[in-house]
């Protein structure tokens, strides 16, 4: 059976694959070891609906309308009037020469001509790469694409591709503040992961047009509000690490056959919806199908994956040490279950050779705990 047919079977009959966007692609890199997520994303399963059908609905990626409005307002301000604010920042911070003030809006209002818009973006950026720096400076809303599990996914990023000398940079405009040169590390990481998706896609575009993909810098320019004002400020962010993770995860999804081979025969996440789109499949049956694919729950999943609550429930039921966080999981390498950890710590279980180190840590922790509780008592 071909890969596509196997993925279609996983998704269920007549269900259209859920399209990816930069946010969902970025989320793929958050937990690269999770087979459940890799398989479901490759098949384009609607994880939101699946999670709801198992009785563990989550609200991931649903932004508050206020946050969205603030983000859009800031971006519109930075980009307005041919990117006047942006040009000022680039001139002041990066020494962009005055003659380079080209601004080309590659966006469109219409989704029905996505392929055509991709070609337009490609020819505009390729023309710029072909000629000198005078052939374009800012390219707003370029249409990009990436191959995810064998399917081309079009991305319409709210970003600007920027050319300085012979390098292209991604400019990502975000509405979280940079106060005294420091921003929230979580926000920066999320922005970096998302930008790395664009860097990779822009590299693909240039390669597609017969150019050296390394024309795209592995640093991105992050534009954020400065301090407590609405004035923009620009900083470089290195995304090499994120690019490596992203490439690895995409390669893993491209190699989805191997993961599919490990699944039991006949497993499907089909919700069998009725005429009103309501799932008719029982929650227990669906949960059984989900459990047949190995998951790797970590508390970080809660902010990145729609299925996180389902996986957390399972991890708690199984007394999994991974549910306590990545640090704990790494410290207790090889100890999968909390009851084993307690037994090792209290000395009721003799560790095998590979668990000696973990057992020592646990015994030390247990001794400390007893000592402290003894003092308190």
């Amino acid at each position: 059976m071909s890969t596509q047919l196997r993925l279609d079977a996983l998704r269920g009959s007549g269900v259209i694959a859920k399209p990816h966007n930069a946010r969902t692609i970025a989320a793929l890199t958050r937990n690269p070891g999770c087979t459940r997520r890799a398989v479901m994303d490759a098949a384009g399963v609607d994880k939101d609906k699946t999670a709801a059908a198992t009785g563990h609905p989550a609200s991931i990626g649903k932004l508050s309308p206020l946050a969205v409005a603030r983000g859009q307002g800031f971006e519109a301000r930075v980009k307005s009037q041919g990117g006047a604010e942006l040009l000022r920042l680039l001139r002041e911070n990066l020494g962009l020469p005055i003659p380079q003030a080209h601004y080309l809006d590659l966006g469109g209002d219409d989704d029905s001509v996505i392929g055509g818009r991709y070609l337009r973006s490609r020819s505009a950026l390729a023309a710029s790469a072909d000629s000198g720096p005078d052939a374009g400076t800012l390219f707003d809303h370029p249409m990009l694409r990436l191959q995810i599990a064998g399917v081309w996914v079009y991305l319409e990023p709210d970003m600007v591709a920027f050319r300085l000398e012979d390098k292209f940079y991604i400019i990502e405009i975000k509405s979280f503040a940079i106060v005294d040169g420091v921003a929230d590390p979580g926000d920066v990481t999320r922005a970096a992961i998302q930008s790395s998706v664009y860097v990779l896609a822009l590299r693909n575009l240039l390669a597609d047009a017969g150019h050296d993909p390394n024309l795209v810098a592995d640093q991105v320019i992050l534009v954020c509000p400065k301090d407590f004002s609405n004035q923009p400020t620009a900083h470089f962010v290195d995304v090499r690490k994120q690019l490596t993770v992203l490439r690895r995860q995409l390669a893993r999804m491209a190699d989805i056959d191997r993961l599919l081979d490990s699944l039991p025969d006949g497993v499907t996440f089909d919700l069998a919806p009725d005429a009103h789109g309501l799932p008719t499949r029982s929650a227990a049956d669906l949960a059984h199908a989900l459990r047949s694919v190995e998951a790797r729950y970590a508390p970080e999943c809660l902010s990145a994956c729609e299925l996180a609550l389902f996986c957390r429930h399972d991890a708690h039921d199984a007394h999994s040490t991974a549910a306590l966080g990545r640090t704990v999981r790494e410290e207790l390498g090889g100890v999968d279950c909390t009851s084993t950890a307690v037994a090792l710590g209290t000395g009721t279980l003799v560790p095998t050779d590979d668990l000696v180190q973990a057992a020592e840590t646990l015994r030390a922790a247990h001794a400390l705990r007893t000592a402290i509780l003894g003092q308190l008592a």
Binding site: Q81, A84, I98, A101, G107, D109
Partner: protein, 261 residues
């Protein structure tokens, strides 16, 4: 009591209800279609009411001789002398004009102008129309222009956004220079514009019209020639390829062509 719907919302609701009626008719659900028709009539009555209200609020306020939105926008565009986005128009209005102008009032302006032009071409002395992209000659997103300008001024090439920014900065500075006592809002606008031009303002929050004009003219001289070549070429092409209405409101996009076909 809930606020009555605004005229734009009514527009949208009316077109939604019309779609529903069409669906009901094609599904042969005539009872539903008749219910929807009653609803449509009520909405249309509300629409006329809202329109009258809007008219009276523009012209009827005592001591406030405000122009209709169309005239106001025309005046602002004439002042700036370049195609401008609703955001810019609203900012200029706040700096120089009395009364209120909201961005939402400009939403349907260009569409209404196009409709008027297509029903009775050249019936008005001027139309608020589109700027055209230099490569595809389609309407440039979010820009409003005036039909009486030479066509090349309504073309948006790769440098035009910058050139137009500098041109409008010069125009604004000249206008403020002519004003006896410019309002704080006008001075703030001038400074905001000057902040985007190298060497235009001496210090934070302060910009003199003369230095803005000088700095903008200096940068303009760098871009102007390249920009003009691109614009004039495109304008020649537009005159050759497009009909009157398309020259004003843009060549049809690919999807519009598909729909028509």
């Amino acid at each position: 009591m809930a606020d009555p719907l605004g005229i734009e919302e009514l527009d949208q609701r009316i077109s939604e209800v019309k779609t529903e009626i069409r669906k009901a008719v094609s599904a042969q659900d005539f009872a539903q279609a008749s219910r929807l028709r009653t609803q449509l009539r009520a909405l249309e009555a509300q629409w006329h009411g809202a329109l009258e209200l809007a008219e009276s609020s523009v012209s009827g306020k005592p001591g406030n001789m405000q122009l209709p939105v169309r005239e106001t926008v025309h005046q602002i565009l004439t002042l700036l002398a370049v195609p401008a986005a609703p955001r810019t128009i609203v900012a200029v209005h706040a700096a120089f004009f009395a009364g209120e102008l909201a961005g939402s009032q400009l939403t349907y302006l260009r569409r209404d102008e196009e409709r008027s032009f297509r029903t009775a071409p050249h019936g008005r002395p001027y139309y608020l129309c589109s700027a055209l992209t230099y490569d595809r000659l389609t309407a440039a997103r979010g820009l409003i222009a005036v039909s009486s300008w030479p066509l090349h001024r309504r073309i948006v090439g790769t440098l035009s956004a910058r050139v137009d920014y500098l041109r409008s900065a010069i125009k604004l500075a000249e206008h403020i220079d002519r004003t006896d006592r410019p309002s704080p809002a006008a001075q703030r606008l001038l400074w905001q514009v000057a902040a985007g031009i190298p060497n235009a303002s001496a210090s934070f929050g302060d910009a003199r019209p003369a230095s803005v004009i000088e700095a903008a003219t200096a940068e303009l001289s760098v871009h102007d020639d390249d920009d003009r070549v691109q614009r004039e070429q495109a304008a020649r092409r537009a005159r050759k390829q497009l009909g009157d209405a398309e020259q004003l409101f843009g060549a049809p996009t690919l999807s519009a062509v598909r729909k028509a076909g």
